[in-house]
């Protein structure tokens, strides 16, 4: 027994305590146990959020079928990234959807995420942005002065991955945008 009270207890209290110890809590029934096991041991899914309808502060997340998905995807990336050269990067990809099937292929995000009202609860859409490491090739030395300073040019290649999750439908859209940009590295000869 787990007895540790600040003051000693009289016999009747101790007997009552023993009686309490003798009672056995009801076992969880099989249905509850099975239900819990499914919930606990299932593969991890997307973290639960408050239902969008209940919050009243989230924007709807709609998927729109388009005729030319690749071109539309490029346009969306151009809007969202706001950087130069994204549309000229050319090859973009929309697809690889996890669920839904029919509506998935060739879909783009209809509303930009930036329309979410400031200070309000986040929409159930998770934007993910990844950038692969730089790769490139040397373009040679370019003199910038008569003596020691030179620059070395690289043709930098990188791929940006834009991913939006919609936990409500367990679907996502991914855009992979290859970029090329010249990078000048200053070198000094001793």
């Amino acid at each position: 027994m787990n007895l540790e009270t600040p003051e000693p207890m009289d016999n009747s209290l101790r007997q009552l305590e023993r009686e309490l110890f003798s009672l056995t809590p009801v076992d969880p029934d099989r249905r509850l146990t099975a239900c819990l096991e499914r919930a606990v041991c299932a593969p991890a899914q997307i973290p639960r959020r408050a239902p969008a309808a209940a919050s009243g502060t989230t924007l709807p997340f709609k998927w729109k079928r388009v005729v030319a998905p690749a071109a539309a995807a490029v346009a969306v990336v151009a809007v969202l990234s706001g950087t130069e050269g994204s549309s000229s990067a050319g090859k973009s990809r929309a697809g690889d959807f996890a669920a839904g099937g029919g509506e998935a292929e060739g879909a783009v995000l209809e509303r930009p995420l930036s329309r979410r009202p400031a200070g309000r609860e986040a929409a159930p859409v998770r934007p993910v942005f990844e950038r692969e490491g730089l790769a490139g090739r040397s373009m040679g030395l370019t003199p910038v002065s008569d003596n020691a300073w030179r620059t070395q040019e690289f043709d930098a290649r990188q791929t940006e991955h834009h991913l939006w999750f919609n936990p409500e439908t367990n679907s996502y859209i991914q855009l992979s945008v290859p970029r090329r940009s010249p990078v000048k590295a200053v070198v000094k000869f001793h």
Binding site: N2, E4, T5, P6, E7, M9, S12, L13, Q15, L16, E17, E19, L20, F21, S22, L23, T24, P25, V26, D27, P28, L32, T33, C35, L36, E37, A39, V40, C41, A42, P43, A44
Partner: protein, 181 residues
């Protein structure tokens, strides 16, 4: 060692752990809620949180599992969350508290087995104020120390100890003294 995990939980570890602690956890969930359905919801929410992203400890045997104290703490938090989620539900709980009537959920096997004395004790226990009841349950069936109870309920340790004693004294007054002899 304490870690957090998002990895799938091994079913065998979960099953062993829940087979050992399930009855006392369910008992505490029932004490913290007003209906059997709420208790099951709270238990499920707490277990998922605890095992998926909660604090998992490695035992001396190399088994990773949450501590019992952490489980009780999570059940209490989930019960509070559930009460806050729905105002109407919270109002019902308030009314139930004010009426000071015991719930209709059976807590102990002994009561189901028509043990008259067990039924009498259970009725008296369920009629206790919640702040007494939760201490008694954590102490007797949760097998927690007063220090762990204090941490679980976020109260001073002396308060936990005195509530336990007052609860026993109140139970003694409620139950027929002759049967305690």
């Amino acid at each position: 060692m304490t870690t957090t995990t998002e990895e799938p939980v091994p079913a065998s570890e979960w099953r062993n752990w829940f087979n050992t602690h399930g009855p006392r956890l369910l008992l505490f969930a029932r004490q913290q809620t007003r209906t059997a359905e709420d208790a099951e919801d709270v238990l499920q929410d707490a277990m998922v949180r605890l095992w998926r992203s909660g604090m998992i400890e490695m035992t001396e045997d190399g088994v990773t599992e949450p501590s019992l104290a952490a489980a009780f703490t999570q059940i209490r938090r989930s019960a509070i969350d559930l009460a806050r989620k729905n105002i109407r539900r919270a109002n019902r709980e308030t009314k139930a508290l004010e009426s000071d009537e015991p719930g209709d959920v059976v807590w102990f096997k002994d009561t189901i087995e028509a043990d008259e004395r067990a039924a009498q004790i259970e009725k008296a226990l369920q009629a206790l104020p919640d702040y007494y009841k939760e201490v008694v349950i954590l102490k007797i069936w949760g097998e927690l120390t007063f220090e762990q109870i204090a941490e679980t309920l976020d109260i001073p340790m002396n308060t936990a100890a005195s509530r336990y004693r007052y609860a026993l004294e109140k139970l003694r007054r409620t139950l027929t003294p002759a049967k305690l002899a």
